[in-house]
Amino acid sequence: MPDAPVFEARDLSRGFDVSRPALQRLIAREGRRTLRAVDGVSFAIPRGTTLSLVGESGCGKSTVARLAVGLYAPSGGRAIFEGADIAEARRSAAQRRRMGMIFQDPYASLNPRWRVADIVGEPLRAFGLASGAALAERVGGLLRQVGLSPADGARFPHEFSGGQRQRISIARALSSRPDFLVLDEPTSALDVSVQAQILNLMMALQRELGLTYLFISHNLAVVRQVSDRVGVMYLGRIVEDAPAETLFTAPRHPYTRALMEAVPDLDMAGRTRQPVGGEVPSPIDPPPGCTFHPRCPLANARCRAERPALIVARGTPGTLVACHAVEEGRDGAA
């Protein structure tokens, strides 16, 4: 890649202290407990592309999103934006305006007491990018860009539907002319017909403005539509990292395969999907070795003892996978 990545995570980790209060710990004679929400995650996003992180609840994907824009400080490793640590980058307003975030719930992420024009114009004011008539002009342009009308600026968020609110969130995120957007489940709260509108808008804006996206979702079908590269997360780690097309046509990690098998599809009429057995274990006390081994049909003694590294998959050179079975050729593929 001739161009340096816009965003890079290097061995990124984040733990949360979930200890009981000090007195209770003393009585129960137990130490502090840490939940390792993100545990050694590495990836890079080239300019103008989309990397998606997909996984079930509790896999750490939203924590990575917050680490990527500096809402959380990493407890290990680095989050690097345009070559500088995110904390350092955020100290400069010129860098800070270049990143933005769109959240899942468009009902909770817009101030209900502000008019839409003020919500969308706030980053312009905060970064001193425009004022007065120029600001109003720019806000009108942004609203048009996301498919609303400049007259909508005079209204309040409650007057809009969920999909329109998400358009307002996108207009706000675009107002400071960012290069890098983190989208945390941007369509999960929306109905499918509206989801299609928002996904189409996001992809059109990316082509138009050359945006770089970190896209977080639990929905594999959505991820397939928007991604250039996909990381599959399980219990705080990336277990498979591959170009989108490769991941969906030749999934290698047993978890990725199980996840795809579990998705209900319209073609399923009359067919039964194969459920994955078991549940996601507690991230406070993850299983030793490969954390997927209790649910994995291919698990053996090595999987129970030794944590697999994320390495190039045998037979699928574009794919990185953390699985002993794939490494040893016991997965019956390729």
Partner: protein, 330 residues
């Protein structure tokens, strides 16, 4: 044809507000046969949960049934007293809701909740109820059921809790289960387990199911027939395969097309422009006409009833063979 178990005819639900009466359900009619799984789909606000709530007699005030009838096994249940309805709910109609935490009582063990439900509705003693409660926990796949029976709901994971809710809905052996978004709060891998379980148990007992969800994938693999709702009305109803693969109503077709496929990448997802109308601004004629690519003059003037269409029944004038029509795109 056997007689239907549930018959809903011209059901109207209204909400009186300060600014006038809002009609949330507008002449909804459908049947569910014994042992049949009817999927009810639609986007938020289409009226699918409202239909379920009206059937189980749990409409939120000030909503009220303003017209039409609901009959279970040939007897009307929409005009029963609250007390008479309570005897039917649980015994003849079971309910499963989206969030297991609001269905289960956090202060009682799951065993006690199961046993009390069975003793309220079935003539059995405490020992028998407890024995059956263990059996139900085993049937829904809870490991070590005999020990877990004395656990409280918070000691179960989300997927396990929803299994308990399913046991609770089925334990009095109802004829009909109304399941409102039973898997929406669950992860996909758990969702598949829960759907498989619901399907197996209801099939074994011959229970009819009204499965309300916004997830077409879940409907496609679970339901026998599907009803598509839009703005408080049924837009289309028919065998699941026909509706999913060859939708007749333009709304159903648009809805199906906008679902991102898992099997391949598309350049641009087909989208339906605009949004579903609010209850206080439902267009005259067909409620879908402002968004419909095929709308013609009749669609804005006259409301279509369900008409026989190839494969299903659709509330759309395009399928009226008795009257002249003019497709806008023809």
């Amino acid at each position: 044809m056997t007689a239907p178990l549930l018959e809903v005819r011209d059901l109207v639900v209204e909400f009186p507000t300060r600014r006038g009466v809002l009609r949330a359900l507008d002449r909804v009619s459908f049947d569910i046969a014994p042992g049949e799984v009817l999927g009810v789909v639609g986007e938020s606000g289409a009226g699918k949960s409202m239909t379920g709530a009206a059937i189980i007699g749990l409409l939120e005030r000030p909503g009220r049934i303003a017209g039409g009838t609901i009959a279970l096994g040939g007897t009307r249940i929409d005009n029963l007293s609250a007390r008479a309805m309570r005897a039917i709910r649980g015994r003849r109609i079971g309910a499963i809701f989206q969030d297991p935490l609001t269905t289960l009582n956090p202060l009682l063990t799951v065993g006690r909740q199961l046993a009390e439900t069975m003793r309220t509705h079935l003539a059995i003693d405490a020992a028998e109820a407890r024995r059956r409660a263990v059996g139900w926990l085993e049937a829904v796949g809870i490991p070590a059921a005999a020990e877990r029976i004395d656990a409280y709901p918070h000691q179960f994971s989300g997927g396990m809790r929803q299994r308990v809710v399913i046991a609770l809905a089925l334990c009095a052996e109802p004829e009909l289960v109304v399941a409102d978004e039973p898997t929406t709060a669950l992860d996909v891998s758990i969702q598949a387990q829960v759907i498989a379980l619901l399907r197996r148990l209801t099939r074994e007992k011959g229970t009819s199911v009204m499965l309300i969800t916004h997830d077409m994938g879940v409907i496609a693999e679970t339901a026998d027939r599907v009803a598509v709702m839009y703005a408080g009305r049924i837009a289309e109803i028919g065998p699941v395969r026909a509706v999913v693969k060859a939708a007749a109503h333009p709304y159903t077709a648009g809805l199906m097309a906008s679902i991102p496929p898992l099997s391949h990448r598309v350049d641009r997802l087909p989208q339906i422009e605009g949004a579903m109308p609010r209850l206080n601004a439902i267009p005259t004629g067909c409620a879908y006409n402002p968004r419909c690519p095929h709308a013609f003059d009749r669609c804005t003037a006259e409301r279509p009833e369900l008409i026989d269409a190839p494969g299903s029944r659709a509330a759309c004038w395009l399928f009226d063979t008795h009257a002249p029509r003019a497709r806008a795109d023809a």
